[in-house]
Symmetry: C2
Subunit: 134 residues, 2 copies
DNA sequence: TTTAGTAATAATAATAATTACTATTTATAG
DNA sequence: CTATAAATAGTAATTATTATTATTACTAAA
């Protein structure tokens, strides 16, 4: 594992993620980074996202569609809107006891868990109500 | 939505999934189907997997790596092995109350949820123990 | 401050997973 | 049977991601 060397691009990518709550995709990061670094390459974005995830400063979220990235390192669950595919953080604190429960009938070692809730986000719900009234 | 028409390929894909517990990828389905249908195309496999998922006869599981497909329509959680990436079913019954808890601090509508546990499967654990003893 | 070493970069090519297109085949209703 | 339309095989295209490589930019030590 080679020594980590500072780079403005990586710093900026991490900062960008910390200031957003919507779990951007690699491409969303790329588009935004180009404002500050017009010559940044998509490979640089991908490499730094992987690197940051590896050292535990961000989390990669696999969904249908492209991966998303989250700088919120408070353990938390996610919500995915079936309409607009938005990925939101849930307030519900992690239920660590689930892991012990799951371990009871399971042969391997459980180290962690995630949960994802699905439904319609408030934004899409409003929109549907509005459309029905027309 | 066009009327669904019977096809031996689709029937066979569904049967194959029902007889397996390891949540095959589209490519695994394809390789197996070619034994029975040497000229089946990968597109046919993908189309039928999507179709079966749409009508609720199977479930698509997004992971790191390729999507996986599950014909077990009993709601259940999954376990993913950090070593070999195997996807296993958990015995733990779905904790439906989580959805109500999550809904308390949440603006949208919650319809369902999934949970995934991560760790080392028993098979990989044994292998590591064996290697340490050498 | 140079300078040597090496990680990071931009640009590009390559790969992997999935979807789209099209001419032909097949299921099924009449 | 036959007409219709869905499903197929074969193939091309697209999307998301990773690999390659020559060049640039950190960083530590002279």
């Amino acid at each position: 594992m080679p020594a980590l060397k500072y780079s403005r691009q990586r710093e900026s990518i991490k900062l960008f993620l910390m200031n957003r709550k919507d779990h951007p995709t690699a491409d969303m990061v790329y588009v935004n980074m180009r404002e500050k670094f017009p010559h940044i390459s998509l490979g640089t974005v991908y490499r730094n996202l992987s690197l940051l995830a590896e050292i535990g400063e961000i989390t990669k979220i696999s969904t249908e569609g492209p991966d998303r990235f989250d700088a919120n390192q408070n353990p938390h669950y996610h919500f995915i809107c079936r309409r607009c595919q938005a990925v939101l953080d849930m307030a519900l604190p992690l239920v660590k006891s689930l892991e012990a429960e799951a371990a009871r009938d399971f042969d391997g070692t459980i180290q962690s868990h995630t949960a994802t809730f699905y439904g319609i986000c408030s934004h899409c719900m409003e929109k549907e109500t509005r459309e029905q009234n027309n």
